[in-house]
């Protein structure tokens, strides 16, 4: 992929131009689905857009020194990394990728969590520090399962390229991997039951406590782009492959929509789990299955 294609994928499709409205759409779908399942009507359709514009118009706090500069930088780094992750998704079948772009996607998807952790610590507020510590523990827990699941899928199909993975027919191991990914997604996207860094009654807003105005708008945008990238990754792995361009886009969007609905159902059905239960869930319960998946993938690889 050359520079022009890369820039087009980053900025236009499926990059920023399409991903930002897509992020707002997914955020609205999640809030509306949770509201409907709780028996109320939710926010109107344009609500995330209005929230974004309103946040851009609030006053900015003065940030002094290196700490202040870092505080201003973290949301921008998070947004650019999430946008890069979205740009790597092979929505169109012939968009071409490169060998190893799966690894790059995983790395870019990890950056917003790192930025949240760093932002909580650099805000010098105790609520930020506690929230960042919780986010760090959560990250260590679900990432083991997440990465092992992706590795087992990639190892069983002998490729690390997203486009190739989208085109290959699915093996049974891939469905196990997708199931493991779906179990990790609520933790990655800060949804119930693993929404620990956002525990409002306990730690105000966690890492985001000292942020306001345009910086908060960037955090919300990075959260929305994280949604698009994560659901897009699972949709890439789970959706059947078609050669026709428009149908591929439609199937991709439909699968992402279905995943968002599923996650919203889980989010409205459960309550927030405490940190020890969360860690125990990921390390004791799901780790076994992830280790089984990776070992069977390697075993099949060496046998074939």
């Amino acid at each position: 992929m050359n520079m022009t294609t890369a820039l087009a994928r980053l900025l236009i499709f499926p990059g920023l131009l399409f991903a930002i409205p897509g992020a707002w759409f997914i955020l609205w779908v999640e809030r509306k689905a949770v509201a409907l399942m709780q028996g109320r009507i939710g926010p109107p359709f344009m609500q995330p857009f209005f929230d974004f514009i309103k946040l851009l118009g609030k006053d900015t706090p003065p940030r002094e020194g290196i700490g202040g500069m870092l505080m201003k930088a973290w949301p921008l780094i998070a947004v650019s990394a999430a946008a890069g992750a979205v740009g790597l998704l092979p929505v169109l079948p012939s968009s071409g990728g490169f060998e190893g772009d799966l690894i790059l996607l995983l790395a870019l998807l990890e950056v917003p969590s790192m930025c949240i952790i760093a932002a909580g610590f650099s805000s010098r507020s105790i609520f930020g520090e506690i929230g960042s510590a919780r986010e760090a523990v959560l990250s260590v827990s679900y990432n083991i399962v997440f990465l092992l699941a992706i590795l087992s899928i990639a190892a069983s199909q002998h490729t690390f390229s997203l486009a190739t993975l989208a085109q290959l027919p699915a093996s049974p191991l891939r469905w196990l991997g997708v199931l493991a990914l779906l179990i990790c997604l609520p933790a990655k996207l800060h949804l119930n039951p693993f929404s620990l860094p956002n525990a409002e009654q306990e730690i105000y807003s966690g890492p985001m406590t000292e942020y306001a105005g345009p910086e908060l708008a960037m955090w919300e945008l990075s959260h929305g782009l994280e949604w698009v990238a994560a659901t897009g990754l699972v949709a890439t792995l789970a959706a059947p492959h078609v050669t026709f361009g428009w149908l591929a886009i439609l199937i991709f969007v439909a699968f992402s929509f279905g995943i968002v609905l599923m996650l919203s159902a889980v989010a409205s059905a459960t309550a927030r789990l405490a940190i020890d239960t969360t860690v125990r869930f990921y390390w004791q319960v799901t780790l076994i299955f992830a280790v089984l998946a990776i070992s069977s993938a390697l075993f099949m690889r060496f046998r074939s």
């Binding site: 926010p43 857009f49 309103k54 609030k58 002094e64 010098r124 609520f127 009654q201 730690i203 306001a212």
Partner: protein, 182 residues
């Protein structure tokens, strides 16, 4: 750009984010505020979100007659809310201290300390009255911000580091006070 200003004014009205603070109340009004987020009244249809940090909110909802212990905390939190902002006094207590009118533990009605935009009377007010009050406050906020009346934050201590009125300064400044902005 006029179009941008109009869009901004419209968005401010359509997206009021609340922060709720208890100034010594009996919790009746606090319960009714939470009840306004339940399915029957559903404040989220107006875009209302109850936020966890005062820095995120536009509208500060205060309940309770303001006790001496609460005065410092309320002033600190008011300064932590970034402009444009509005204040809603929920219940009869913050407006007029209601039945506690001659109590020696109170420090006057709320508008003695911070400017209040909307008063929602009732003891406690019904949730639909609270939602009406919040909607009116969002309108007032949008109009005031579009006319660019100055709302300058004075001191900005970190969230959670206000002294709560226990210090000698009387609670008007946080311990981690940054420079005063004009």
């Amino acid at each position: 750009m006029n179009l941008w200003n109009k869009l901004m004014c419209y968005s401010r009205r359509r997206s009021p984010w609340l922060f709720h603070m208890n100034g010594g109340s009996c919790n009746g009004c606090d319960i009714e505020l939470i009840a306004s987020l339940t399915p029957r009244y559903d404040a989220e249809q107006l875009g209302v979100r109850l936020e966890g940090s005062p820095r995120h909110a536009d509208i500060l909802c205060i309940t309770g007659p303001i006790t001496h212990n609460a005065v410092g905390a309320i002033k600190v939190v008011y300064d932590q809310v970034f402009g444009p902002k509005a204040v809603v006094a929920i219940g009869s207590c913050p407006a007029t201290t209601n039945v506690f009118i001659e109590s020696r533990t109170l420090d006057g009605p709320l508008n003695k300390h911070i400017p209040v935009d909307v008063f929602v009377p009732g003891c406690p007010p019904r949730p639909d009255a609270i939602i009406q009050g919040v909607a009116k406050a969002a309108e007032i906020l949008a109009e005031r911000a579009s006319k660019k009346l100055p709302v300058a934050p004075v001191v900005m201590p970190l969230v959670g580091e206000g002294c709560g009125g226990a210090c000698a300064c009387g609670g008007s400044g946080g311990c981690a006070t940054k420079e005063v902005q004009a």
